[in-house]
């Protein structure tokens, strides 16, 4: 009897391990392929990869992706703070006053916004921003990025805030804390790690978003500009264009750009996970 139980236990343990390996192997494969192909390009190019313009199709050198890096940073710089502030504020509102009409409206809008294809968002922003301004711009790109990432930021934040056990909320109220200081001094600090993770997830979404930028940012690759009103490039846009091109050298640069994106995710994630300690309940 006892051995039979042991056998079944072993059997299931190995099955779970096997299934996990199957599930995770495509991801591992992806990471390894991108890193292998991409880091080669970055290493060969060296510092030029970060400060040069992209190569012409028949150039001998890889060149760099400076316009895309600067464009991505610029648009992230504009859109991330707005997304985080709005998303967090909305999440606080809907977790604190779930039955309030405004909360219900926000929650519904956020859920429906998340289901709009990002390319449609791009078209909408094209119509209402790009056309009247008569130019693609980093600003239009940032607006599209904000619209696309806001529902996700909202969902991450509200899931995190809702995970705070009710007993801490009660404790805060019982010592006469106001609702706002309860949120700011108790609820958010208790789940600070979740909040930071939510910010990172939003950042990753913004950095990796492609379709929202197709008709908004403008893919300007012939120089570097930091004006929000000028057309700009972004790393995912460059990857998208270069991968589909017939030129081998552009496809190589696209590998490099992908690796750069992946590496920056990893660096950001591990640093923050390491720095922000989890609160032990």
């Amino acid at each position: 009897m006892y051995n039979w139980r042991k056998l079944i236990d072993k059997l299931f343990t190995y099955m779970v391990i096997a299934v996990s390996i199957v599930a995770i192997s495509p991801v591992i494969h992806l990471i390894i392929t991108v890193l292998l192909n991409g880091t080669m390009v970055i290493v060969k190019t060296g510092i030029n990869f970060f400060i040069s313009l992209p190569p012409t199709p028949f150039s001998k050198d890889f060149g760099g992706i400076a316009p895309a890096i600067v464009g991505s940073l610029l648009m992230t710089f504009i859109s991330l703070p707005i997304t985080i502030v709005l998303g967090l504020f909305a999440a606080i509102l809907t977790t604190e006053f779930p039955k309030n009409t405004i909360s219900i409206v926000i929650d519904t809008i956020a859920k429906s916004l998340a289901s709009i294809p990002t390319i449609a968002v791009s078209m909408i922003v094209y119509t209402i921003i790009v056309v009247p301004m008569r130019s693609f711009s980093a600003l239009a790109g940032s607006i599209a990025l904000t619209i696309v990432s806001l529902p996700y930021a909202y969902t991450y934040f509200s899931t995190t805030l809702r995970s705070v056990p009710f007993i801490y909320r009660e404790a805060a109220f019982s010592i006469a804390m106001s609702r706002w200081s309860t949120v700011l001094k108790i609820l958010i600090p208790v789940v600070r790690r979740g909040i930071v993770t939510a910010i990172l997830m939003t950042l990753v979404r913004i950095l990796g978003e492609t379709a929202a930028l197709l008709f908004t940012a403008g893919r300007f690759r012939n120089g570097v500009t930091i004006s929000p009103l000028a057309p700009a490039d972004a790393i995912p846009l460059l990857i998208f264009d270069f991968v589909l091109s017939p030129y081998e050298i552009w496809r190589q640069v696209a590998w490099g750009a992908s690796a750069l994106l992946l590496l920056s995710y990893m660096v950001i994630f591990f640093t923050v996970k390491f720095l922000v300690k989890e609160v032990k309940l």
Binding site: A171, P189, V190, R192
Partner: protein, 251 residues
Amino acid sequence: MNLLAVEMKNVNVYIGNRHILKDVTLKIPSNTVFVIMGPSGSGKTTLLRVINRLIDLIEDARVEGYVKVLGFDIMKSDPYELRKYIGMVFQIPNPFPHLTIYENIAIAAKINGVAKDKKELDNIVRWALEKAMLWDEVRNRLHDYPHQLSGGQRQRLCLARALAMKPKLLLLDEPTANIDPVNARKLEEAIVSLKDEVTVIMVTHSPYQAARVADYVAVLYDGKVVEQGPAQQLFLRPSTEITQKLLRGEM
């Protein structure tokens, strides 16, 4: 001088369409230990939450009737102002996990403006910990976090946090339900020693605990107060069958 800490007249509480408290009328004298007994689900916890209006946190709760706490008509006063005078300890120890032992107590003192400077704050923290009979155990580890304490110590930390507000009224919701007998005993001692300074309203399951600490007892059954009076009288000559059963541990 107001001799009644809490006065309730015909209080009815509904949560959704459940009728939780039915026509509760209670008089709780100042500077006593007032124990509320009753079986699970009789509305004891709800009754406590009416007093400091923590019941406001429950979305679909509705309170009817007249409740006067420390001279405030609570339905008409600002709950945040009201709560400054009322400390509470809950069933499950809930010190703030991201704050140290010191900060847990200091935050309560600061919110209520009890302390003016760092030195005064230090004194209040020490005073509260001593009152909660925790000082000797944590005096050298004030900057540890609550998860490093035992369950019983955490609960006494919660008591210290409540006391740091210098409340006039202390609500205890089965504070010893989740801790061991030794810690429970310490908590009881702390409670009894407090009644010179505060009025204590305690909910408990245990008739033995009630007998050890209570000056007055009210028995709650199915949302109604079936009996209330001085503890001795109630324990020696319980007038209802419900109280008798409760005291025999049959309910």
